[in-house]
């Protein structure tokens, strides 16, 4: 789960990371009032779950409250990578002597959280990694022991030669690690971590991504979810316990299991088609999930054909068949549908479908070919 910069900053502040104050505005007038309160040049920053906000024009300096209002007016409502900006963070502008990068990610290869730090901050860390890898230091943290002081100091000295600044950075990293663990994060980064002209080390931006699997035991973190910042179809899918990702093609796919769902999309492409989505109905089939899946897929105007690919194991194929019948009875389909199913209760499923005017195939390849052809305006074979 992504959270906004201002939310990540609140979490880090609670752990004691030094971060300049900031307040969130949803209207230009609020932004003006906040800027007036700070009484200094401010930065107005789009709060949206996308990188590259700066390049997209979502981060601007405002020298006066009036300017803050004007800029907020332009940023609010802006689209960044397909997402609408509904909130801006207004925060005093800081003078910057140097910028560094500090991040911790849950690294699958290391089976552990791994710190990445670089004195070349303020820019995309992947770019630094590609062009000047010697400017990045990585450090694996064994969660049985936690981040030790000596490790944080090693990283601190990699960023700063000055003992006071190295210590300040080390302390910030220990707090960042504490926040990472306490939030069930998979990523937490500060970019840039800056040294001010006075020599103080402060965090100017923060990003955190939470492991979805942690949310059940962290209600306070789960409450940070901002559904207005997500695509409505994905919110609906999640609420129906489906995994759905919208794509640009025209073959709507309903599959059980993530691997098979990807393989189905790939096969659509292989046969010259374009998948409209990834959609995994998961292991336990119940007709309601199928109904929700069809509702989400048919809402996409691009979809020209629908493909079901169900391999029944735990999933009962008769549940899926019943779901298809229920959903299409309530809302008759406007596009053709191809149904492939095999496995648990296959005979019952085929019978249900036939009785309701659907045909079903047991062969994945054939079904995919058919769906691709139908989406192109051809006929089912």
């Amino acid at each position: 789960m992504n959270i906004h910069e201002y939310q990540a900053k609140e979490i880090l502040r609670a752990q004691g990371v030094p971060i300049p104050p900031g307040e969130v505005a949803t209207t230009p007038e609020q932004a003006e009032a906040i800027a007036k309160k700070f009484g200094t040049t401010v930065v107005v920053k789009a709060q949206v779950h996308a990188g590259g906000r700066g390049k997209a024009g979502g981060v601007k300096l405002a020298r006066t409250p009036a300017e803050a209002r004007d800029i907020a007016g332009k940023i609010l409502g802006m689209q960044i990578k397909g997402l609408t900006v509904l909130r801006v963070l207004v925060t005093p502008a800081e003078e910057i002597a140097s910028e560094a990068y500090v991040g911790v990610i849950l690294d699958r290869a290391s089976k552990a959280p791994v710190f990445m730090v670089s004195p070349a901050g303020g820019i995309d860390i992947e770019e630094v990694a590609a062009k000047t890898p010697e400017k990045i230091r990585r450090l694996r943290v064994d969660t049985r022991y936690g981040l030790q002081t000596y490790q944080a100091m090693e990283l601190g000295f990699f960023l700063y030669a000055d003992l006071k600044q190295a210590r300040a950075a080390a302390s910030i990293m220990q707090k960042l690690y504490a926040a990472f663990m306490a939030s069930g994060a998979s990523l937490a980064e500060i970019n840039p971590l800056v040294v001010t002209p006075k020599g103080e080390v402060v965090a100017l931006d923060a990003k955190m991504v939470i492991d979805d699997n942690e949310l059940d035991r962290r209600p306070a973190i789960a409450a940070l979810r901002d559904e207005s910042a997500e695509a409505p179809s994905e919110v609906e899918a999640r609420n129906a316990s489906l995994t759905f990702i919208k794509l640009d093609g025209n073959v709507g796919c309903v599959v059980n299991g993530a691997g098979l769902a990807m393989a189905t999309m790939d096969l659509v492409k292989y046969y010259g088609g374009d998948p409209a989505n990834f959609l995994d109905i998961g292991g336990s089939s119940n007709p309601d999930k199928v109904v929700a899946a069809l509702r989400i897929i048919t809402a996409d105007q691009n979809v020209k054909a629908i493909l079901f690919n169900i391999f029944g194991g735990i999933t009962r194929t008769d549940d899926v068949a019943n779901g298809i019948v229920t959903a299409t009875r309530a809302n008759p389909l406007k596009v053709p549908i191809v149904i492939r199913l095999t496995g648990t209760n296959e005979d019952i499923a085929v019978k249900i479908l036939k009785e309701n005017g659907f045909s079903a195939s047991a062969d994945m390849d054939e079904a995919v070919k058919q769906a691709v052809a139908l989406a192109k305006g051809g006929k089912a074979a």
């Binding site: 849950l106 699958r108 663990m181 699997n213 299991g257 393989a263 990834f278 391999f311 390849d365």
Partner: protein, 290 residues
């Protein structure tokens, strides 16, 4: 022969009285798996379906039954504890079916299991089946048939699809292992490939990978340098967009890393036969078994 599970496998079901646990316990027993006990706290002393003894703790269960394997169907927030309990009680092969285990939990579970000298399969995996011998987990028994193809996969239903096609084509399996789709898991491709290489009853291996991480690349390197048996591979997620988690917690392209293209290239460089479609496994394996 087979890998990790065979006729000597004796199983404790952790969460045996739960919805999934009870269903799959019946399925396993029906398949012929030696389910010797189950654990549900507070139900110690009772019996599951009048036959399988239930215990309060894994320590009690292992002490009473001498089981060497466990399979876990407890809810995600309790799965890490259940895995550690099994390892601490002396279980040497732990199959965690549970989906949705927090990844940070696994950063502690992995070294714990290692310290105890146990092997963990999963979490978030369909388990393992050595056709005709033992099934531990949820892979449907009827789609499998004994034979000499080893199958290892990060996916559940995609595995079923491939196994189903192999079986229909008369290509039986020595063991089918689902390693699971989580970013940190107990057993990886290389563990399975090494075991298949050693297993005298395995003549070829079918490997189903997916986008995300570098496990397949490392597996390819292992195949190149340490395997004599033929391997055929497939990568799911060629059409997946970067930065989106494709259902499995581990199936995500980070930046430009973990793409299907780079994995397929690694397979090709290692001399692994590349199945472009699931159905291609049949011909590619048949050709290599001749």
């Amino acid at each position: 022969m087979s890998i990790f599970a065979d006729n000597s496998t004796t199983v404790i079901v952790q969460g045996i009285t739960g919805r999934d646990g009870s269903f799959h316990t019946r399925q396993m027993i029906e398949y012929g798996t030696r389910v010797v006990g189950g654990v549900t706290p507070g139900k110690g002393g009772q019996k599951f379906e009048n036959t399988v003894p239930i215990f309060n703790t894994m320590r009690d269960a292992v002490a009473a039954t001498g089981a060497n394997t466990s399979v876990i169907y407890v809810p995600p927030m309790y799965a890490a504890d259940a895995i550690m309990e099994a390892a601490d009680a002396g279980i040497k092969f732990i199959v965690a079916i549970t989906e949705g285990v927090p990844v940070l939990d696994m950063t502690r579970v992995a070294p714990f299991v290692h310290e105890k000298g146990a092997r963990l399969l999963g979490a978030n995996c369909p388990g393992i089946i050595s056709p005709g011998q033992s099934k531990v987990g949820i892979i449907p028994g009827r789609i499998c048939t004994p034979g000499n193809v080893g199958v290892v996969s990060r996916s559940g239903t995609l595995t079923y699809e491939v196994v189903y096609q192999l079986t229909r084509a008369g290509l039986g399996q020595s063991t089918c292992v689902g390693i699971g789709g989580d970013p940190i898991n107990g057993t990886n491709f290389i563990d399975c490939l090494a075991a298949f290489e050693k297993d005298p009853n395995t003549s070829a291996v079918a490997m189903m990978g997916e986008i995300g991480g570098t496990d397949e690349q490392q597996a390819a390197d292992f195949v190149k340098h340490h395997m004599t048996k033929p391997v055929v591979g497939f990568i799911a997620g060629q059409t997946a967009p970067p930065g989106r988690r494709m259902g499995h917690a581990g199936a995500i392209i980070s930046g430009s890393a973990g793409t299907a293209a780079e994995k397929i290239a690694a397979f090709e460089a290692a001399g692994i036969g590349v199945a472009r479609r699931p159905v291609d496994f049949v011909d590619l394996i048949r050709a290599r078994l001749k």
